[in-house]
């Protein structure tokens, strides 16, 4: 509502109060980001002598260097770098494959209905709702037996399997808006299943692929449970490494290094949010009205 008047309303005391409140809340949301950034360029001495909101007197990137290449996460002291690349190696194939499968599934469910397709769709959607704790014990055993435990390949497979429910939902809900007439006309002209996908459906799919890529990337990059259970020492994603770094109890807590590490772990998804915020929000809202 409230779109009925297009001229800006006059600045009454009430409206000034609204603006003040909105700005105050904006500051509350921004404060942790500011604190993370400013802490990450301080020295430990400055952190001890100053306070949270102080600006750094002599900004330095030492903490960033340390977080990236020498900080200790648990027993290893190689910084976040190897784990960051683990996350990249995990997220990129998992996002691409789960999106492609979701697209084909969505195409079938929207335009090639068969007896019981609704039941199949509902049964698939359960995968969006279950708490993953209820599948991780058998999964850990299966990955162990398949010798995929503690490997990036194992994590990629897990993320694909449990991501398909969402990607199928996204694509199915998008493809039902493609008119049936379009598909039927192509069928009368003799186009087959894959021909119609390639020539009609796929070219229309760019926006939904964007939404799906961003949603999946955010989910997989930010995942912690699968990473900590199935990642082992070698395939640990960056979220697990960050948690180990922050919760290391030995020695002095280096808040500047912790904050630099947190920003490093957050950078890819933050960058996507800033570049493609529109698609990010669509993914969130599509994910919210699932089922």
């Amino acid at each position: 509502m409230a779109a009925e008047l297009h001229d800006a309303p006059r600045l009454t005391p009430g409206r000034i109060a609204i603006y003040a409140l909105l700005v105050l809340v904006a500051l509350y949301y921004l404060a942790p980001l500011y604190v993370m950034l400013s802490t990450s360029v301080k020295t430990l001495d400055q952190i001890r002598s100053g306070n949270l909101l102080d600006l750094s007197l002599h900004p330095t990137l030492d903490a960033w260097n340390k977080a990236w290449s020498t900080a200790c996460t648990g027993v290893r002291c190689e910084g976040l770098r190897p784990y960051f690349w683990n996350s990249v190696a995990m997220a990129v194939p998992a996002v691409l494959i789960s999106s492609l499968i979701g697209s084909l599934n969505g195409y079938v469910l929207a335009h090639w209905r068969f007896p019981g397709h609704n039941a199949v769709f509902t049964a698939l959607m359960v995968g969006c709702f279950i708490p993953f704790q209820v599948v991780i014990l058998p999964m850990a055993r299966l990955l162990g037996m398949a010798e995929l435990a503690n490997t990036t390949t194992g994590l990629v497979i897990v993320h694909i399997i449990y991501g398909i429910a969402f990607t199928t939902l996204f694509f199915r809900n998008y493809y039902v808006t493609v008119p049936d007439e379009l598909v039927n006309a192509a069928r009368i002209d003799g186009a087959g299943f894959f021909m119609i996908y390639r020539r009609i459906i796929f070219p229309l799919s760019l926006p939904i692929f964007m939404v799906c890529f961003i949603w999946q990337f955010t989910q997989i990059w930010n995942d912690f449970l699968f990473g900590v259970v199935f990642g082992g020492a070698d395939a640990q994603p960056v979220t697990v490494a960050l948690n180990n770094l922050v919760n290391t109890s030995t020695g002095v807590t280096e808040y500047n290094v912790n904050m630099a590490a947190a920003i490093i772990a957050a950078l890819p998804t933050l960058a996507i949010y800033m570049i493609a915020g529109k698609y990010f929000v669509r993914g969130l809202t599509a994910g919210a009205v699932k089922g």
Partner: protein, 292 residues
Amino acid sequence: MGALADTWLPRLVLSPTIIASLVFVYGFIGLTAWLSLTESRMMPNFEFAGLVQYERLFEIDRWWVSAANLGLFGGLFIALCLAIGLCMAILLDQRIRHEGALRAIYLYPMALSFIVTGAAWKWILNPGLGLEKLMHDWGFTNFSFDWLVNSDMAIYTVVIAGVWQSSGFVMALFLAGLRSVDDSIIKAAMVDGASLPTIYRRIVIPSLRPVFFSVLLVLSHIAIKSFDLVMALTAGGPGTSSDVPAIFMYQFSFTRGQLGLGAASAMMMLATVLAVLVPLMYLETKGARHGR
């Protein structure tokens, strides 16, 4: 030939997903359920033992602490996110300049992982150097804020960080709902002389019913699954005072070698999700059928 291919090709394309879902979702839930009915400890043991694991689970104080914490955290998290999200959405709906920029600021925490959020708030709430020191520097020398290390209050710090992360998202959903309310009804009410608060209370908010359902669905889901945020912020501590079932399940299964107990606690989590989601989904579809 082509017609025949068009019958089986779509099913063939869908079948790997169907099989995967049968095995990895339904089959694995079944296996976990079975595991929870055995004596499994370090190694899985598939001999049926009845409800012993559930009996043991219910005798463990730490389980009840976790369950109570989930109730406390979930209730506060959902209530605060709903209240803040709805208020912010209504305020943002008043033809605000730079609405886009404000919206972007409210929403960016949703792009972060809970581990990052936990790390940031762990530093801010840290007694001694964080917020407490800031208030001292500002002259409030009696200010004390030790929730993070206070076993009675630690769970509330999880609420603070969780609300910070998710309330902007709730705001975005409500705002989208507000924008889809039919303008002509509101104009008619205005002509009738209804005040803006009355219009919101009597017309706009009731029409947001489907949005409330979606928001409740998503928030309760986030709350029940919450694992990473607690791990990063308090790791369940001090002691086990901010434990939640997800952490209980992880620790008993993977660090204490109590697979049967872990499975039983996972089944309890599933039961909680079902207990919350099934009535919500039922109400929502019923509401939809009545054209709301």
